[in-house]
């Protein structure tokens, strides 16, 4: 029982870190441009492919990681320059649709390149040794990737927070998020600030991509879709556009996600005879073991409820309504 609970907590924290890395990237860009960058998940996918192909090529790990981060950042910058800058300030739905299209390009581009490299659509990810295996603490065994994921996630997120609050570029991002034209009028180089936000966002996505691929063990061009949706949910829970909110929302989502699985398995993990057969039956009826497979549906139901009742997020409180 203890072991089970601890493992679920570790799962939640690890998933939370992954979502946080993604959600902060979404929130950064949403804050400045009011753009929900759906292609963010595909940027993450591209990072995983960059890492995989670098490792396949026999490059040492640090070099492979460098290529992964650097390449992803370049792609993030290119997307901003080519697709998003021309429609900056346009209708929000147009920007959202553009990000879908960008996602399609990244997916199909990856598909095309893997085909040209004579690789199958689904390939095994060459997880680096440091992320393989488990850490044993007493009776609890935790996959290394989860520990590293949680640890590195924390370090990176703290770094991002410091950058955003302590540097001029960070302050400029805040200012641009508050009022873009006014930020331009004080002389902030908006194009640079937006580019910096995309670069940072892509770098965070690349770390997320490595963690995701290492956990999943396999990669395909479509793997970004679900994580970006989850990151979006995390950002909504935290109050969209708020960076600390995105982090809090991500960990909240991590915990929220393990609940259906945990409840679905609750009857199985109770020691035999701990409860009467009637209660056991009742538990199995209320929490069928299939509950875990409905996890995503439950999470999205929660998203819809959040959007309806607390659109400003759990931290948002009663912010000013959108009124004429």
């Amino acid at each position: 029982m203890d072991v089970y609970v601890i493992q679920q907590i570790v799962n939640a924290l690890s998933a939370g870190s992954l979502y946080a890395l993604m959600a902060v990237g979404l929130a950064l860009i949403f804050g400045i441009l009011r753009l929900i960058n759906f292609a963010h998940g595909d940027v993450m996918m591209v990072a995983a492919y960059l890492a995989a192909f670098s490792l396949f090529a026999g490059l040492p790990l640090p070099v492979a990681l460098g290529i992964m981060v650097g390449g992803t950042v370049l792609i993030g910058l290119a997307i901003e320059r080519i697709a998003y800058r021309p429609i900056r300030g346009g209708p929000e739905v147009a920007m959202l649709l553009t990000s879908f299209a960008v996602g399609q390009i990244l997916q199909n581009g990856t598909l095309l390149l893997t085909r040209l490299a004579s690789q199958p659509i689904q390939i095994a990810f060459p997880t680096p040794d440091v992320l393989q295996g488990v850490v044993a603490i007493g009776r609890v065994t935790i996959p290394k990737v989860n520990v590293v994921g949680f640890g590195s996630g924390m370090v990176i997120l703290v770094g991002v927070m410091l950058f955003l609050t302590r540097t001029r570029t960070g302050l400029s991002m805040h200012a641009a998020a508050d009022d873009l034209p006014a930020a331009q009028l004080v002389g902030i180089r908006i194009n640079r600030v937006v580019a910096a936000a995309f670069a940072l966002s892509a770098a965070l996505a690349s770390v997320a991509g490595l963690l995701y691929a290492s956990q999943a063990g396999q990669i395909n061009p479509y793997l970004g879709f679900t994580p970006v949706l989850k990151a979006f949910i995390a950002a909504v829970i935290g109050g969209f556009g708020s960076i600390p909110g995105a982090v809090v929302g991500a960990y909240a989502l991590g915990f929220l996600e393990v609940i259906p699985t945990a409840l679905g398995g609750i009857a199985d993990i109770l020691p035999v005879g701990a409860v009467s057969p009637e209660i056991d039956d009742l538990l199995r009826t209320i929490f069928p073991s299939a509950l875990g497979s409905y996890r995503d549906a439950i999470v999205f139901l929660f998203l819809i409820l959040m959007l309806l009742f607390r659109p400003n997020g759990i931290l948002g409180g009663g912010a000013r309504e959108d009124v004429p």
């Binding site: 302050l171 930020a183 331009q184």
Partner: protein, 233 residues
């Protein structure tokens, strides 16, 4: 110091400015007046580089800035205090002021904080406060203070008295007069034509994208056309 030469600006098919020419000399306070939709905001946006003119030139100390980026224009010495104040509502007063000096080295900016708060003691008392919680008048002070942080040689004020209590309007114009006494060059767009013509040296009247009148402020104040259309006498 600033000269607009036959400036045309269009939004799509709509011609917002149809060839306006005006100038602001060093040390002058020039007012630009006109009703809504006459093209005042468009003129200011073109000067600050937020809009690209379709033709014509904008010269600042002889250099053509009509194609320059906004940050370049700010660093050349033109600072604009936008209509509706537009302070960074979620940042503190200090952060707002620091960002006002973004085009200059950090060390200089820090030392300028003191002189700005001297000018606006109310801001000095509220350095750590989030700008969104300031009153309308205080936000206007902050917006002017922020614009001054770039050490402009030309300060552009867009409707600084808009929506303020008459009492606060008086204060704002006291500040403007004070800046003028220090020798700062200013271009003022203002719907409060009485006040604007009281403070200004010269003025231009803009109507449907063309300049219909120009001259010393005293003269315009007694122009029958201006009296009828803008002063309501």
């Amino acid at each position: 110091m600033l000269e607009l030469v036959d400036l045309h600006v269009a939004y799509g098919n709509i011609r917002a400015l149809r060839g306006i020419s005006m100038r602001v000399e060093s040390g002058e306070l020039v007012a630009l007046i006109g009703s809504n939709g006459a093209g005042k905001s468009t003129t200011l946006k073109a000067i600050s580089g937020l809009l690209r003119p379709t033709s014509g030139r904008i010269l600042f100390e002889g250099e053509d800035i009509s194609r320059a980026s906004t940050d370049r224009i700010v660093s050349l010495g033109i600072s604009q205090c936008p209509e509706g104040r537009r302070v960074f509502a979620r940042l503190t007063v200090r952060e707002n002021l620091l960002l006002g000096g973004i085009t200059r080295p950090m060390s200089e900016v820090r030392s300028d904080l003191a002189s700005t708060t001297e000018l606006f003691p109310r801001l000095g008392e509220r350095m750590g406060q989030v700008a969104g919680t300031l009153s309308g008048g205080e936000q206007q002070m902050l917006a002017i203070g922020r614009a001054l942080m770039s050490r402009p040689r030309l300060l552009i004020l867009d409707e600084p008295s808009l929506g303020l209590a008459p009492l606060m309007v008086e204060r704002i114009f006291e500040v403007i007069d004070g800046l003028k006494d220090r020798g700062l060059t200013m271009l003022l767009v203002e719907q409060n034509v009485h006040h604007a013509l009281d403070s200004a040296d010269r003025a231009y009247v803009l109507e449907t994208g063309t300049i219909t009148l120009e001259g010393p402020a005293d003269m315009l104040r007694h122009d029958p056309e201006v009296e009828h259309s803008y002063l309501g006498r």
